[in-house]
Each structure stands twice: as structure tokens, then as C-alpha cells.
């Protein structure tokens, strides 16, 4: 029995089918299975390339310069093609039934499921195509599950790897190693080893960071690279361990204890990615307990996203990769330096602003003080006085001027009137002047005479004039005594003579 690969175009597929050709939905190729290829199918048969053709295809230029004795050596592709051909001719490989525990599975990659199944000693890589999974996968595929698979074995030339191509898959329970791990996890959890209360803070500004990994692995290179970029001033101290193999657990435990004694700021326990079996070291109880007992904060960076080991639960911080562990334990010092510089500048600016505003305040106070000083007030008053005296001077001058002007005007007016009168008289004939003079004299004489007469009459009417001839004017208590009976004996009377008074007593 053999498998014949066929190259059938889409338009010819019904025809080929009729002659017994089959479609492999997984490999997406046509084939015929049987002892001999029917004649009708021969035209579609794809004969395997001959060795010389394969050699040509590989296009090895090195072969041209190699000594002849290497001519019989095959290329890698030729060897893998040989294996693949052998696989294709083993009928048992087309119907494999196998049971095992799912491992190394972290979800779909692209459209397909890649995982391994294992027992105590062996692993078998499996591949479940998406189109098949849609039909046969009736449960959520997870590692640790115990599964039964029907499928065929195929050899993948590109990677030189045998894979079980899944046709059917069934979940038949938990795998043994997975059960053991779950039991250990539950026990440690119940003891409180994973409790948040025990998680220690990773210091923000470390000086020394310890690393437990292999000196030859990618992990230490990644950590150093990130650390150098973020903070080259931090001292990294490596405790070299074998991350897998028989001594791995012991040396990792020893490393944790040793670095913990050194009083470092934090410790990274890590390795690059690996299969579940390789990472299994970090599920060891001794390591989990060593991490729990350490005084130093520990960051676990084991495996990658989707792979949790027990150290990840007990560590103070769990990250997926060694690079992330470096980021976690070594903060970017450049950011801090920038922060200090900004703060320093802000403080300078604030101080300058404060001093400036104080200076302005001081300036305005000095100005105020000067304004109210005695000297300033004296000067102000002096200026006020000067102004007032100037005003007064001006007013006096103005008043005097208007007085002079008025006087001048008046004088001018009077003099012009006199001039007029004078002119009138000046132009009169002399006899008129004489006449005026005489009549003026006569008028004066008349008036004088009349004055004399009036004065004489006035003298005659005076009461004192009557007293000259020995008469007296009698009064009592200031009243004139008109009759003799008006006085009684003892009365005091007053007798006014023309030249004085006599006081008398009536007897």
C-alpha cells in the first residue's frame, strides 16, 4: 500500500474523484491510497523529485567547491524528504490512537492549535487544524487535560519534526502530573504562601539588584540591556544557575538564599521561555519556600505569557519576561533626573519671582516715604507760597492799574468840563464879566446880612439870656417850679443862674 500525491486542478476534480482520488482537507492536496496507481490517475501523479533534481533545487553553491568525496552526502532537505516519503508509506501512521496529558499549550496560534501530549517519559507534538477543530473540538482545550486523540503522523520537512495531525480529540480527565501540581498549589495556597499580605514592595531607587539565571542564557542579556538603558548606575549581581536539569532546583534555592543574605534591593529569578517541562523546575516546592522565606523582594520572570509556575504565585511580583523584570526592578533614572532638573528650575524661578515682587514692594514703600518727608512737604509749601505771592502781585498790579486808569479817566473828564466852562467864560465880553462879579458880590452881601439878622434873633430867644438880669430858674427834682405852692418847707430846690447853679433848702 502506498500514497500517491496528485496534482489535480479545480476543473478536473470531479473527474479525478471518479477514478478514486481523495482530497486531503488538512494538507489541501489530492492523493490516491492503494498498492498501484490506476492508469487514469497517472496524468495527475506528482512523482517525487529525483536526487539530482533535489540537489539542483537546493542550489548549493558550496557543493561546487567541495572535494568529490562529499558528493554522496545528502542535503538536509534531501534527508527530510526521505523521511517524509517513508512516513507516507507507513499505513499505521494514518490511523493513530493515542492518549496523554496536554502540555505546552497557550492558546491558538494563528488559526491552529499547537500543543504536546505527554506521559511520564515522552512528549508528542500535536497539531489541530482550525477547520478540523470546528468539527471535533467540543471542550475548551487546556494544558493538564488528559485527552484521547485519533489522527495521523506526519513528518514536517521544514523543521524535521513529527507531528500528530489531530482528526478527533476527546477530554478524558485531568493528567497525573497536572493533578500533582494542582495538589501542591492548593496546599501552599492554604498555608498562605501566596497571600497578598506577604508581598513586598519593589524599591523605587535600587542600588543593587540580584539576578538568578544562567550566565549563558538570553535572560541575563535581556536584563543587562534594559538595565543599562534605564539606569547604568545600578549594580547587577548574577548568581549563575542551571535553569533546567538535575541540579537546577538546588542551585536556584542556593542562589535565592545567597543573594537574600547580601541585603540587595531586589532579586530577579528568571529564564527565557521554555516548554512546560523545562519550566517545571520553577514549580518545585523547595524553590517556592525559598522565595517565600527571603527578606528581599523577589520578581519572578519565568517562561512567558500564559505559562504560570508556582514561583509566579509566591513571588512579590510576577512578570512574563526577563526584560519586564528589569523594567520592574530598575526604574528609569533619566525620568528622575529630569524631574529633579525641572524642580530645581521651578525653585529658582519661584525665588526670583518672590525677590522681584519684594523689590517692587520696597520701591513703592521708599517712594511713599519720600513723598511724605518734611523736606518734601516744605518744598511743596514753598512752591505753594511762591505761587500765591505771584498771584497776589499780579492782582495788586491789576487793581492798581485799573485804579490809575479810572483816575486818569475821571481827571480827564473833570478837566475837560472845567475847560469847557472856562472857555465859555473866557469868551464873554469884559462888561459881562463885571456884571457877573457885581451880582455875585451883591448876592453874597444879601446872604451875609440875613445871616446876621438871624443870629441876633436867635440870641434873643435863648433862656440863659433872660437870666442875666438877676433872674433864676427854679427846679425841684429836675422839674421846673411854676408856682410857690409847689414847694414845701424842707424841700431841696435848685436855682439855675446865668453863670452857675445854687442848691437851696426851703425854710
Amino acid at each position: 500500500m502506498g500514497l500517491f500525491k496528485l496534482s489535480v486542478s479545480y476543473s478536473e476534480k470531479e473527474q479525478a474523484k471518479a477514478y478514486g482520488a481523495k482530497w486531503d482537507a488538512i494538507k489541501r492536496t489530492w492523493y490516491f491510497m492503494g498498492d498501484d496507481l490506476p492508469k487514469e490517475l497517472e496524468k495527475w501523479y506528482e512523482a517525487p523529485e529525483t536526487e539530482t533534481e533535489a540537489a539542483k533545487a537546493s542550489g548549493s553553491t558550496a557543493a561546487d567547491v567541495l572535494p568529490d568525496r562529499f558528493n554522496k552526502y545528502k542535503t538536509v532537505s534531501e534527508v527530510n524528504r526521505l523521511i517524509a516519503d517513508k512516513y507516507a508509506h507507513v499505513p499505521d501512521f494514518y490511523d493513530i490512537l493515542v492518549k496523554g496529558e496536554v502540555t505546552n499549550f497557550s492558546g491558538k496560534k494563528g488559526n491552529h492549535y499547537y500543543f504536546d501530549i505527554k506521559d511520564d517519559n515522552s512528549l508528542l507534538p500535536c497539531r489541530l487544524w482550525d477547520s478540523v477543530a470546528e468539527q471535533v473540538l467540543k471542550f475548551e482545550l487546556e494544558k493538564g487535560q488528559y485527552v484521547a486523540i485519533a489522527g495521523r503522523l506526519e513528518f514536517f520537512e521544514k523543521f524535521g519534526q513529527t507531528q500528530l495531525i489531530v482528526r478527533e480529540i476527546e477530554n478524558i480527565g485531568e493528567g497525573e502530573s497536572n493533578l500533582a501540581l494542582l495538589k501542591l498549589k492548593n496546599r501552599l495556597q492554604a498555608e498562605g504562601l501566596f497571600d497578598l499580605i506577604h508581598k513586598k514592595q519593589i524599591p523605587g531607587h535600587p542600588e543593587q539588584v540580584g539576578i538568578i539565571t544562567s550566565k549563558n542564557g538570553q535572560a541575563i542579556k535581556d536584563i543587562c540591556k534594559v538595565a543599562k538603558k534605564r539606569n547604568p548606575y545600578v549594580q547587577l549581581i548574577l548568581f549563575h544557575v542551571n535553569v533546567q536539569g538535575v541540579n537546577a532546583v538546588n542551585t536556584i534555592v542556593q542562589g535565592i538564599k545567597k543573594l537574600d543574605e547580601m541585603g540587595l534591593d531586589s532579586i530577579i529569578v528568571g529564564r527565557g521561555g521554555g516548554s512546560d517541562e523545562e519550566l517545571n523546575v520553577y514549580n518545585d516546592e523547595a524553590i517556592v519556600r525559598a522565595v517565600f522565606e527571603a527578606k528581599t523582594p523577589i520578581v519572578s520572570a519565568v517562561g512567558h505569557e500564559g505559562h504560570w509556575t508556582l514561583i509566579d504565585y509566591v513571588a512579590d511580583k510576577r512578570v512574563a519576561t526577563p526584560s519586564e523584570a528589569a523594567e520592574e526592578t530598575i526604574p528609569d533614572v533619566m525620568a528622575d533626573i529630569k524631574r529633579v532638573e525641572l524642580l530645581s528650575k521651578a525653585i529658582q524661578d519661584s525665588m526670583q519671582g518672590l525677590l522681584k515682587s519684594r523689590k517692587l514692594q520696597l520701591d513703592s514703600m521708599i517712594a511713599n516715604l519720600l513723598k511724605n518727608s518734611p523736606q518734601n512737604r516744605l518744598r511743596e509749601n514753598r512752591e505753594k507760597l511762591k505761587h500765591l505771592s505771584e498771584m497776589m502781585d499780579f492782582n495788586i498790579r491789576a487793581a492798581y492799574k485799573s485804579y490809575v486808569d479810572a483816575t486818569n479817566m475821571l481827571a480827564e473828564g473833570i478837566s475837560s468840563r472845567f475847560k469847557l466852562i472856562y472857555q465859555r467864560f473866557k469868551n464873554l465880553p469884559d462888561e459881562y464879566l463885571e456884571k457877573i462879579k457885581i451880582s455875585a458880590d451883591q448876592a453874597f452881601e444879601r446872604r451875609y446880612h440875613r445871616l446876621e439878622v438871624l443870629l441876633t434873633e436867635l440870641n434873643g430867644l435863648s433862656p440863659t439870656a433872660k437870666l442875666v438880669g438877676g433872674f433864676g430858674y427854679v427846679t425841684k427834682d429836675g422839674r421846673p417850679v411854676k408856682n410857690a405852692v409847689d414847694v414845701k418847707q424842707g424841700d431841696n430846690i435848685n436855682i439855675k443862674m446865668h453863670d452857675g447853679d445854687i442848691s437851696a433848702n426851703v425854710i
Binding site: 531607587h205 548606575y233 549581581i237 548574577l238 533614572v333 528622575d336 530645581s344 519661584s350
Partner: protein, 73 residues
């Protein structure tokens, strides 16, 4: 002289970068206030400048090489 030096070392040992950065923030905030007395501002300014240069000194140390404890194993 030796006593002074010893004191300085002690001070450096006590220096905590996190506390120093917090204090710098505090000083900056206080200096930004309008009502701060002049004397206080001068004191704070002095403290701030010294702290800032200490912080930088602390952050920018000497570049270190990886040390492997058990190289020969």
C-alpha cells in the same frame, strides 16, 4: 577635620532619594505660594538647591559592570 568628614558621611548614609524628591516637591509648592515670608523663602531656597544637587549626585553615580558571584561553576 576628621569629625566634620565623619558627620558628612553619616548625613550621606541617611540620605533617602524618595524622601528627598518628596521634600523638593514640597519646597517647590511652598515657594509658589504668594504669602510666604521672605525669611522662610530664603531658607527653603537654600535647602532646595542643596537637595536638588544631592539628588542629582545620588541618581547619577558611576556606571557599573555586571558582577557574577559564581563565575567558575
Amino acid at each position: 577635620m576628621s569629625t566634620v568628614k565623619k558627620n558628612e558621611t553619616e548625613l550621606n548614609d541617611e540620605f533617602n532619594i524618595d524622601r528627598a524628591l518628596d521634600r523638593l516637591e514640597e519646597i517647590n509648592d511652598r515657594l509658589g505660594a504668594q504669602d510666604i515670608p521672605l525669611n522662610e523663602s530664603i531658607e527653603l531656597y537654600k535647602e532646595g538647591t542643596i537637595l536638588a544637587s544631592k539628588c542629582k549626585e545620588q541618581l547619577q553615580g558611576i556606571e557599573k559592570e555586571l558582577k557574577i558571584l559564581n563565575k567558575d561553576e
